[in-house]
Amino acid sequence: MPTDVQIKCRNLWKVFGADPKGFLHRHNGAPTAEALADEGYIGAVQDVSFDVHQGEILIIMGLSGSGKSTLIRCITRLNDPTSGEMEYEGRDLLKLSERDLIDMRRHKMGMVFQNFGLLPHRDVLENVAFPLEVQGIARPERIERAKAMIELVGLSGRESYFPRELSGGQQQRVGIARSLAIEPDIWFLDEPFSALDPLIRAEMQDEFIRLQSLLHKTIVFITHDFEEATKLADRIGIMKDGRMVQLATPEELVLNPADDYVAEFAKNAPRERIVSVGAIMQPVAGNASGTVPMSAKIGSVAEQVLTSEHPVAVMDEGNNTIVGSIDRQTIATSIFGTRAA
């Protein structure tokens, strides 16, 4: 697996306060929560380690103030971490010179901001072309590429509009187009849809999925919204008070939450769309009738199982063998069980 690790973070700390480095040093790099509170420091990111794999969508979640933005901003070096290690495709991110960092941002990283961060004095076209402009790409080429991006996000015809003349959803489309204009390898999105109202948000999520199906980027995505997360994520990392409490697939989070905090997040998740049959099946039963595929989400087989008198056999599509069974009771508890409890 190591070859496809795109970003590697080890023991990352970001402490805000008067003298963060000295503070960490005094506490041997691992201050307790009490020490932080006593000395008036904020541990925005605390001892976080994880990898981001090539082509995956990693979603980071957590309550407000849990350090999600700070974590992303450390990786993009908008904030410098107080301690820890970060690598990008094997290069030490913390040792980059100013020039290399700018180069990295110009060619490898794209970022979308919660409040769009559009330049108010530039129209849509100029906003999207901006990253190309600062690289020094000639005008005709950058206009052409910007136009392609604008088309990609469905804003053709609005090239000469100014940000204040666009709706929130449209503004964020511009933000997305701008971040994609340089064809980044890795794409950071910090709550890109949370400033939008629910209908637009759903539309933008679909748009995002459509884009990803075309582009296959590596994505680190922050959201508050577990449903949004489960819709998009390959893996979800849950943060609490600066720490990464659990980083796993949505299914694992729902079935085996690491603690109550994670369980609380997962509580309202649409389990029928997250949990697959294979994850909750029981041993092969003698009286099974009918089959369902092992990888199917339970929502899609619920009707079949619930209307069947007998347990239903579970089939591994890989080699067409029966590997277990599933009955009404199991389906019912896994969809409603924990919620009732």
């Binding site: 901003r73 993009t76 908008l78 700018i102 180069d103 941002r105 110009r106 060619h107 990283m109 794209g110 970022m111 901001f113 919660q114 409040n115 769009f116 961060g117 559009l118 330049l119 108010p120 004095h121 530039r122 129209d123 901006f130 990253p131 402009e133 600062v134 690289q135 000469s160 509009y161 100014f162 933000g175 701008r178 971040s179 340089i182």
Partner: protein
């Protein structure tokens, strides 16, 4: 054991004993002490001659030394000032050639007035549409018909040179302050001081170093007009949203790109506001700088006022006001101009039609000016026909003479009513108050202000106020400073008595606000100089006239802050009062005014600042206070006195600002509206 603790308790009590004395008693004690002291010691009334620090003389000598002997890094100081003077003279000269002298060397005249008028109008149409264009046309016609064109151009000469310089300097300083801690620490307090310093006070030090003439006026103007630009730049750069900046960073901007392509352009509105203020300050200063060598409308107006040629003064005053309004509206319209979306779809000619039209008119008018003189400079007289059949269609001078006569007639009638009022107020109110301030022993003044400063702002404010007060006491400026204080306090009191009720009225009625607020805006647009005209016209010279001149200028903040203070009260607060059964009056006096009081006091603070600036200007028509010292120092070359007097006017402003500011901040904190 009990004996051991008991003394501690009393000791603590003794420690707080000062706070235990009621505040009025503390003030009373200081006043009584000061008065008694003055009875036994003359030095408490007038600072003893022997102890007076001859600061003014030192400064004058220092300037003499600078100008004659000083060298900096081997270069003679006077060479440096001469070099700066010469460097600045060049752009002024070019502007003069362009606007009214003409390029003698190549035989090209100045811009024909028709072309200037058309250019301004076309620009107005481009940025602000038809109404603004109309305003410009009327203004241009006014300037032309009243024979004020050339003087207007002389005034504009310095304006068009000073504005870009002040704007550029302001932006650069502003950027520097936001980038460097050191710069911020040096420059920010300087701006505070500069803001409290009236226009007038800039003239003395500049005139001290540079010879009397347009360059001195230019330098003083640039220095005076620059701080608002710097402030707006700082504000603009500091308020760019962090998302925008970070988006810029993530787009791969270098530091420089981030500043020039992201931060500065996205604060365009704020920068434009700064530019507007630079233009207005420039104009205000240029007309006053006539005492330091600026020619033009200000110079002529000063002359008319001193000659009591009021009709002419009014014409000139109107010209200055119109120019101010035009400049204000033009820069504002430019700031808010929307960018054209469909520019790309238009042809080059369509996009540049305003420019092309102007160039066309320019060329045609230059050619026409060869044949008809009235194209070049506005005619002072239009005559129709020849010989006996000649009829005078229009005569600017005659018009002015009629206006002059009308004013004189009016005054003759009005004086019968006005003079008794003026004299009564002067004898029964102004003189007693003035005598009181002149009698006041300085320990009383210092003690009362000091105690207030200490109670309101703590030790640092106390020390600052003490230092400022002693600076004018020990240098022998006590009498002049008290005269200024008296004028300003009376004027400020009147401003509050007029302004606060107007503000309340405007806050209560939308309709009234729609009338009063635009008037306030306009009053603030005018250069303060022109407020001397009605004062002289109605009351001639003297303290009464001076106070009258201060009123329209300094009442505006009292009105505006009262209005805003009342408008900003949260509706629930008022609704709660209504629900509790308060009548309208009870609501006003028991709820609204107390809550809005900090804001109103900040208005008073501004009023005092503006009154201070205006008292200095009234020196132009005669006064005996600090302002007069400044004005006189320029003609007598006794620059030390002028510089100090200017500084003391600023010192009074800073004392008032710290006292009121500390009070308002504390009060706002208590009210939870900070």
């Amino acid at each position: 054991m009990t004996e051991a603790t008991a003394p501690t308790a009393t000791e603590t009590n003794r420690g707080f004993s000062l706070a235990a004395i009621p505040l009025w008693a503390q003030f009373a004690a200081i006043i009584i002490f000061g008065v008694l002291l003055s009875l036994v010691w003359d030095g408490a009334t007038r600072w003893p001659e022997a102890w007076t620090v001859p600061m003014a003389a030192w400064i004058t000598e220092f300037i003499e030394w600078l100008k004659s002997e000083a060298t900096i890094f081997g270069v003679e100081f006077k060479e440096i000032t001469r070099g700066i003077g010469a460097a600045l003279k060049a752009p002024v000269k070019w502007a003069e050639y362009l606007l009214y002298r003409g390029f003698k060397g190549i035989g090209l005249g100045p811009l024909p007035w028709v072309a200037v008028a058309a250019g301004v109008t076309i620009f107005a149409h481009w940025v602000g549409g038809r109404r603004l264009a109309l305003l410009c046309v009327l203004t241009m016609i006014y300037l032309a018909t009243f024979n004020l064109w050339k003087d207007s151009m002389k005034t504009m000469t310095i304006v068009i040179v000073a504005v870009p310089m002040a704007a550029l300097l302001g932006v650069v300083l502003g950027i520097w302050v936001t980038r460097s801690q050191t710069a911020s620490r040096i420059i920010s307090p300087m701006f505070d001081l500069m803001q409290a310093t009236p226009h007038m006070a800039y003239l003395a030090p500049v005139a001290a170093l540079f010879a009397f003439g347009p360059v001195t006026a230019l330098i003083a103007t640039v220095i005076f007009a620059m701080p608002p630009m710097a402030r707006c730049t700082i504000l603009g750069l500091q308020t760019v949203s962090s998302d925008v900046l970070e988006a810029g960073q993530m787009s791969g901007c270098t530091k420089r790109q981030l500043l020039w392509k992201v931060a500065l352009p996205s604060s365009k509105r704020t920068l434009m506001l700064g530019l507007n203020q630079v233009v207005m300050q420039t104009l205000a200063m240029v007309v006053i700088a006539s005492i330091a060598g600026a020619t033009g409308l200000g110079h002529k107006l000063l002359y008319s006022l001193q000659q009591l040629r009021l009709g002419v003064a009014i014409e000139q005053g109107i010209a200055i006001s119109l120019i101010a309004i035009v400049l204000d509206r033009l820069t504002q319209a430019y700031a808010y101009k929307e960018t054209d979306h469909f520019a790309a779809t238009k042809t080059w000619t369509q996009r540049h039609k305003h420019m092309l039209l102007f160039l066309g008119i320019l060329v045609v008018s230059y050619i026409a000016a060869e044949y008809w003189r009235w194209v070049k400079i506005p005619p002072s007289k239009f005559v129709w026909g020849t010989g006996d059949a000649k009829t005078v269609l229009f005569d600017a001078k005659l018009l002015a003479r009629h206006a002059d006569q009308a004013i004189r007639d009016f005054n003759v009638v009005a004086f019968d009513y006005i003079n008794p009022i003026r004299d009564w107020v002067t004898i029964w109110i102004l003189l007693p108050v003035r005598d009181f301030f002149l009698w006041l022993p300085w320990p009383v003044f210092v003690g009362v202000i000091g105690l207030a400063a200490w109670r309101l702002g703590g030790l640092s404010v106390l020390l600052l106020c003490l230092a400022l007060m002693f600076s004018f006491i020990v240098t022998g400026f006590w009498v002049e400073t008290m005269k200024t204080t008296y004028l300003v306090l009376i004027a400020a009191a009147l401003c509050v008595m007029i302004g606060v009720p107007l503000g309340i009225w405007a806050a209560r009625s939308e309709r009234v606000a729609n009338i009063i607020m635009p008037i306030c805006d306009t009053l603030q647009t005018f250069p303060s100089f022109i407020y001397l005209i009605p004062a002289i016209m109605l009351f001639r010279i003297g303290d009464f006239a001076n106070i009258f001149a201060i009123l329209p200028y300094a009442t505006v903040p009292a009105i505006r802050y009262t209005y805003l203070g009342l408008k900003r009260i949260p509706p629930v607060t008022i609704e709660a009062a209504i629900a509790n059964g308060a009548t309208r009056m009870q609501r006003l006096f028991k709820v609204e005014l107390p809550v809005a009081l900090p804001e109103i006091m900040l208005g008073l603070n501004q009023t005092i600042m503006m009154a201070l600036a205006m008292t200095a200007i009234t020196a132009l028509i005669g006064s005996t206070d600090l302002g007069q010292e400044v004005v006189r120092s320029i003609s007598t070359q006794n620059f030390g006195r002028g510089i100090l007097a200017g500084f003391f006017i600023a010192a009074l402003g800073i004392i008032a600002d710290r006292l009121i500011g500390s009070w308002a901040a504390e009060r706002k904190r208590q009210l939870g509206v900070a």
